[in-house]
């Protein structure tokens, strides 16, 4: 959950990248880390296996600027997408303010996307959250691959509520900041609504 500190004049929010194994969550964070100027970011932490699969989480703290004299911090996390890491995945959702669901556009991963989406809804429920009430956007990643499912079909399968959805090629950075910016905006608007 967001944390407002009047003494330090800071606001922190937690944003979680969710999605099936190998869909490109960690790649999103790596691209953001590469592009953000050193004074706006902290260290990126990756708790990963020897083969670079996320084991517990990636963490990247950003401090992009001020709003009304308050420094706004975003703490970005990714979950491990592999099915058997579900216990860890659940823990990362604790206190989440906004979710980015990264889908893998390859046709053979559609099943995995759907499974991961169901898993997200279930795990949020265990924390008392409802995905429909949470700042939430979707990213269709790996649009560069020849076996990518048409966006219209992806929408039909994964986005019945028509939340904002962005095409992306994460290693090139296409769509990466658009996705982040949009969820950040929704998170801040939510804070405004609650204030």
């Amino acid at each position: 959950m967001s944390f407002i500190n009047y003494s330090a004049r800071e606001i922190s929010c937690k944003i979680v990248y969710y999605g099936p194994g190998l869909c490109g969550k960690t790649t999103n964070l790596q691209y953001i880390y590469k592009k953000i100027s050193p004074d706006s970011k902290g260290k990126m932490i990756s708790l990963a296996t020897e083969t670079e699969r996320t084991l517990f989480f990636d963490f990247l703290p950003l401090a992009l600027g001020d709003i009304k004299g308050f420094k706004v911090r975003f703490h970005l996390y990714t979950v491990p997408g592999q099915i058997f890491y579900d216990a860890s995945r659940k823990l990362i959702l604790r206190g989440v303010d906004g979710v980015i669901f990264v889908a893998d556009s390859q046709v053979e991963r559609m099943e995995a996307n759907l499974e991961s989406m169901d898993n997200l809804i279930l795990n949020l429920k265990e924390h008392g959250f409802n995905l429909e009430e949470l700042p939430y956007v979707i990213q269709y990643n790996k649009r560069d691959l020849p076996n990518a499912v048409p966006v219209k079909e992806m929408d039909e399968a994964l986005n019945p509520r028509k939340v904002p959805a962005y095409d992306a090629i994460a290693p090139k950075g296409d769509g990466v900041f658009e996705t982040l910016k949009d969820v950040a905006k929704l998170v801040i608007m939510e804070l405004k609504k609650k204030s």
């Binding site: 959950m1 944390f3 517990f56 963490f59 004299g69 924390h127 959250f129 950040a184």
Partner: protein, 163 residues
């Protein structure tokens, strides 16, 4: 939503800083800090110079979350204290109520016994601070409005963050 975000006012920060200062000094610790269970740093005191406290806060919360998960599997409620021993530095981690985590880093200028004693007292004091804070937050919630910096925020303000 289940639990509202944490809001810390200056008087709360002062109380917390004072308690941490006292703990750090009396326990002869290197660094003492307080972390929200969601991974955000609330306050830090001591020789923080070359320590990345933001990362440490996030990993501490991950650590507590993971051991909490383990406890559940074993039918325990929670492991309320964790201790990691290093060659030079040691880390003592304990829960403060339902909301926060107290972390103390110390070397051989102190001892585990002393740390345990001082931490226990500080946890009691800090729990009180957080209980009061929870009461206050519940009250301001029902009063509606308040002085949140976000009430007058515009789309442009958010846009400007991303330059």
């Amino acid at each position: 939503m289940l639990n509202p975000g944490l809001v810390l006012f200056e008087e709360d920060s002062r109380l917390i800083d004072k308690e941490l200062q006292k703990l750090n000094q009396l326990a002869r610790a290197k660094v003492s800090f307080l972390v929200d269970k969601d991974g955000q740093l609330i306050a830090s005191i001591g020789e923080t110079g070359d320590i990345d406290t933001t990362s440490l806060a996030s990993l501490t919360a991950g650590n507590i979350a993971a051991t909490g998960g383990m406890a559940k599997l074993l039918g325990e409620k929670e492991f309320s204290i964790l201790f990691h021993e290093g060659e030079k530095d040691n880390i003592h981690i304990s829960l403060v109520g339902q909301r926060a985590i107290l972390v103390v880093v110390f070397d051989d200028r102190s001892s585990l016994g002393l740390i345990r004693l001082r931490v226990k007292r500080s946890v009691t004091a800090l729990t009180e601070v957080f209980d009061k804070l929870a009461e206050k937050m519940a009250k301001t919630d029902s009063q509606q409005g308040g002085s949140s910096p976000f009430t007058e925020i515009t789309e442009e303000d958010i846009e400007s963050l991303f330059g």
